[in-house]
Assembly symmetry: C2
Homo-oligomer: 272 residues x 2
């Protein structure tokens, strides 16, 4: 459930409102700060001046990145569907009681990251933690999860920039710099009339950020598929990665829901 | 309790003999292999061709190094005194029974790494795991630990090369390549007559391996101090790191027992 710095997307707003949790403070500069990296472990994805911060803990579920430290620290990375699954399990491990509010927030994160358990990144541990957290919140997690994803996929009030940058990260593929984002909707047809506007915004972002390409996944949660929009170059690597022919700046892929597991690894392989 | 590839030092021999454990196979080439990195997470300290291996797990207690992976993996690093402490705790976490042999080997590793709990790297968790493992082995861990360290510090049968390379690792200090080793003895006086021979061997190793310097810690376990031997350059960084004047290629430091916590960090700071 990542959000661009300083913005709260419709899904996060739904979760915070539902569990009466205040909007957390956003940190954008790491200089001189003590930092725990959660849900990322790459310099390019961290706050500014991360090299002038003291990283004293890392909890994540992504590939191992380029963070190094001068001293031994606690670093726990586990290939589960959500970092919140790891954090929720750590509460038990260290015998810390979980408040209803924190249970709600962590359950939401797991349901969001695993797309209601449909993502190929989902593991039995994710399901176990949701069952545990749902009991604490008193919610029916299926009903709640659908309501949350519906709030997330309400794009009517979103600008094209909010759609592109809502869940967006920088990557470096063997020296080729790129931005890869994702928007999940319950029904892809709501995005069709806005595709031109989204592509134009992607091209603006690409130029402004000096990137080779920008790729945005338009993910249909119910149909379990993604329309992969691509602007920039090299198109041949994009086509190689997703084994298709680009048409109108897009390749449609059935079964592709996860950026981490189904989009980044094939891109890395194509650029090797 | 690291050993140079293919060699079994007197301490390891003592442990394996004591608990009737066969000498484990040594792997020197990672090409095409599936690898779990244990007790290290830096390319320079791993087997040859580690970049052509599949790293699918890391369990360590050192600073975070330069290992990266194409996919999410289990990576657990924790600032405790011994990686064996983490492994021993994982047995319980995953409800796997510990055999008497494995308990003996892990207890030995923790006692060795923490120098019988005297090292500043030692944590309450290390002590807890030793207490648990000692119960399984039926040993008095204090008595056993002293016997093990005595076997380790029997250097009479060791060549100078075995003393230098017995527990030896490569490091890169902001581009300056170095080898840093350690030998622990119960009484430093046994090493005094061999100091010249050790320094000559260090210089040979330095030249053969194309390093800027080689530093060997001669650690007196009972007096809790180390004589830091240094050959090569830059001497000024060595003196800056250990706040002393080098005499006869050495600086004597009271209270210094841990390479990881008390030797590598000040060197890194001096080279910054």
């Amino acid at each position: 459930m990542p959000a661009a710095a300083g913005t709260i997307n419709s899904e996060t707003k739904f979760v915070l409102d539902h569990f009466s949790v205040p909007v957390p403070e956003t940190i954008t500069d790491g200089k001189g700060k003590k930092i725990v990296l959660v849900d990322h472990n790459e310099v390019g994805q961290a706050v500014e001046n991360i090299k002038e911060a003291t990283i004293f803990e890392v909890i994540d579920h992504h590939k191992i990145g380029d963070i190094t430290t001068p001293n031994p620290i606690f670093f726990h990375n586990e290939p589960v569907g959500s970092t919140a699954t790891i954090v929720s399990a750590m509460y038990d491990q260290y015998k810390v009681p979980i408040s209803k509010e924190m249970a709600g927030v962590m359950m939401s994160a797991i349901l969001s990251d695993t797309v209601l358990f449909k993502s190929p990144t989902c593991t039995p541990k994710d399901k176990d933690e949701v069952a545990k957290l749902a009991k604490i919140t008193g919610e029916d997690f299926q009903q709640y999860g659908i309501a949350m994803l519906t709030a997330k996929s309400d794009i009517s009030s979103k600008t094209a920039m909010e759609i592109v940058k809502g869940d967006y990260k920088h990557f470096d593929f063997a020296g080729t710099k790129a931005g890869v984002g994702q928007i999940e909707v319950m029904d892809l047809s709501v995005l069709v009339p806005r595709k031109k506007e989204i592509l134009e915004t992607m091209e603006k972002v690409r130029k402004d950020e000096g990137l080779s390409f920008v790729l945005i996944m338009l993910t249909d949660v119910m149909k379990e598929a993604s329309d992969l929009l691509f602007v920039g170059s090299p198109v041949d690597k994009f086509e190689k990665a997703f084994e298709g022919k680009m048409e109108n700046n897009a390749i449609y892929k059935k079964g592709v829901l996860s950026r981490k597991k189904q989009v980044i690894p094939p891109l890395e392989a194509a650029f090797k």
